[in-house]
């Protein structure tokens, strides 16, 4: 069946360090993957996306890597800042695109 999961429920990093959040997916037919950030009391906010015909995509301080061989997705945050503290969700867009499946989330704590 379809599922998107996360390897670690919480991640604690020192301010200024790089963060890596991992995600596994099971639907090999998925062709679009997204990372969302959710701060307390707010709805999820788009960070970055990647299509299955790519292995890597970079944004501002963030990089998403996609390994289709092992069905693994990761989000790298460079020079992590206190404002990065939030829950991060990977999400998978199923074939047809009408349903986005979210994982359980990883809570990122940034220590000053």
């Amino acid at each position: 069946g379809e599922s998107v999961g996360l390897h670690l429920p919480t991640l604690s990093v020192q301010e200024g360090d790089n963060s890596i959040i991992n995600c596994a997916y099971s639907n090999s037919a998925s062709d679009y993957f997204i990372w969302y950030k959710q701060e307390s009391g707010k709805g999820p906010q788009f960070i970055i996306d990647i299509r299955s015909n790519m292995d890597k995509r970079q944004g501002q301080r963030v990089t998403v890597l996609l390994n289709k061989t092992v069905k693994h997705l990761s989000l790298q945050i460079a020079a992590t800042q206190p404002g990065d503290s939030a829950v991060y969700f990977c999400a998978e867009n199923t074939g047809g695109g009408f349903k986005t499946i979210f994982g359980a989330g990883t809570r990122l704590f940034v220590k000053a």
Binding site: Y32, F46, G97, F98, A104, G105
Partner: protein, 112 residues
């Protein structure tokens, strides 16, 4: 520009009651999706509407229903409320049927 707006932001109901939640998408967006987010979990897909038609439905009972109006706003209705329906209900809009979701801040429903 205004983002996705949802109302009410908080509400308390008792078991067996009915609730209607409202969502206004970003201007120009024709797709609205509804998600349920239980505390500590990722958002779970309920419905997607595109061009006023239901395009997808998640694994939710028939007590859950929705519709999209000609102005692309949407309502989510839940009948015969159960304690387990207590959650944050998120609405997201997108330009088309696929792609990046823009979330509102949600409606927090508590069922007593």
């Amino acid at each position: 520009d205004a983002g996705v707006t949802q109302s009410p932001t908080h509400l308390i109901k008792t078991r067996g009651q009915q609730v209607t939640l409202r969502c206004s998408p970003i201007s120009g967006h024709k797709s609205v999706s509804w998600y349920q987010q239980v505390l500590g979990q990722g958002p779970q897909f309920i419905f997607q509407y595109y061009e006023k038609e239901e395009r997808g439905r998640g694994n939710f009972p028939d007590r859950f229903s929705a519709r999209q109006f000609p102005n692309y706003s949407s309502e989510l209705n839940v009948n015969a409320l159960l304690l387990g329906d207590s959650a944050l209900y998120l609405c997201a809009s997108s330009l088309g049927q696929h792609g990046e979701l823009f979330f509102g801040e949600g409606s927090r429903l508590t069922v007593l």
